[in-house]
């Protein structure tokens, strides 16, 4: 549903507003990196704008800190509907290493509804491009939850008891 909406609404271009909510600058540098001629995100029609009122999407980096919390909310409300939120970096996706510290709300999704998560500390420019391409429906999602299960001991219960009895000479001695 969301993908279709993205495709229809943002077919030509997404104007993004980059919002730093307490990032260490690592993620911001990588966001700037995708605007350079080498990665050149503008070939997707993505343009960085200075005001949230012009934007379709919001790139948020950094765990939302307490001082920036009301400002982030106001910036989010200023973006006209429909809007997309990208959480960029581990800090934005889940709070990073400081998800439970006193001054941090712990991830953007605690404050706003996030549409796309791009984890990494900082994410590679390719990873950010991948997230953007995912939102535009150009690539498929590669991540999936992993479930691993360890099997029990190789020793079957019956054979285990047998092996134990064979080796358990103490009963023989007591007889």
């Amino acid at each position: 549903m969301l993908k279709n909406l993205c495709k229809r609404m943002f077919k030509k271009s997404i104007w993004v507003y980059h919002c730093n909510t307490g990032a260490c600058n690592g993620c911001d540098i990588e966001i700037l990196n995708i605007l350079t001629p080498f990665y050149d995100v503008e070939r997707f029609g993505i343009k960085l704008v200075a005001s949230p009122r012009h934007a379709d999407a919001m790139l948020i980096s950094g765990a939302v800190t307490r001082p920036t919390l009301p400002l982030v909310k106001r910036a989010y409300e200023a973006i006209p509907n429909p809007k997309l939120v990208f959480a960029i970096g581990s800090c934005a996706t889940g709070g990073g290493a400081w998800f439970d510290t006193y001054n941090v709300t712990g991830g953007v999704d605690k404050v706003l509804g996030v549409n796309y998560y791009i984890p990494g500390c900082p994410p590679r420019p390719e990873a950010i491009l991948y997230g953007v391409a995912l939102a535009l429906g150009l690539v498929d999602k590669q991540a999936a939850p992993v479930e691993l299960k360890q099997m029990e001991f190789p020793i079957d219960m019956y054979e285990r008891n047998e092996a134990w009895e064979k080796r358990n000479v103490i009963y023989e001695l007591l007889k």
Binding site: L2, P37, F38, Y39, D40, R43, S90, T93, G94, G95, G96, A97, F99, D100, G107, D109, N115, Y116, Y117, I118, P119, G120, C121, P123, R124, E126, A127, I128, L129, Y130, G131, A133, L134, L138, V139, K141, Q142, A143, A144, P145, V146, E147, L148, K149, Q150, M151, E152, F153, P154, I155, D156, E159, R160, A163, W164, R167
Partner: protein, 179 residues
Amino acid sequence: MWLTSKIKQLLMVMKPGVVTLDYPNERPPVPANLRGQPVFDHQKCIGCGGCSDHCPSRCILVRDVCQELRVMLYDGSRCTYCGRCADICPEQAITMSNSFEIACDDKDDITTRMELFMMSCQRCGRCYEMEKTNAIDRINLKGFRYDNLEQRALIRKTSETFSTELLKESDNYQRPSKK
């Protein structure tokens, strides 16, 4: 003047040609030392919880469901890909893979859940202690392999199915010594 400078600029940019990487269609090789998402090997993991203790973002959670089952949950949304868990793991059960294209629209997509089978006494809940060695001898042992069954005649190894070869192999098993 204006025109000549423009021509000069044009010549300047013509020399390198197109530098832009056509990313989602053309993938450059990843650097050899890239640390991506950690990958867990449940066959090797012994459930010691060392990775969980050393993770700076506390994103590996250890939960004991019951006495014999330990569930480890890796929450990739907080992971900073520092590689400390892989460094600390005594069994090398964690490797830092080079996958970084893990953008998703659901946080659950970047989690790993591991169910580990733990060996402990059914009565007291401790690990088995069946060695008759002294404390100095025990230092030689690899700590976590210590809790073996039946007078260390059986090595604790996991396999997908029960194999008699593994049992036979473990019949005459002697623990490695430094001599």
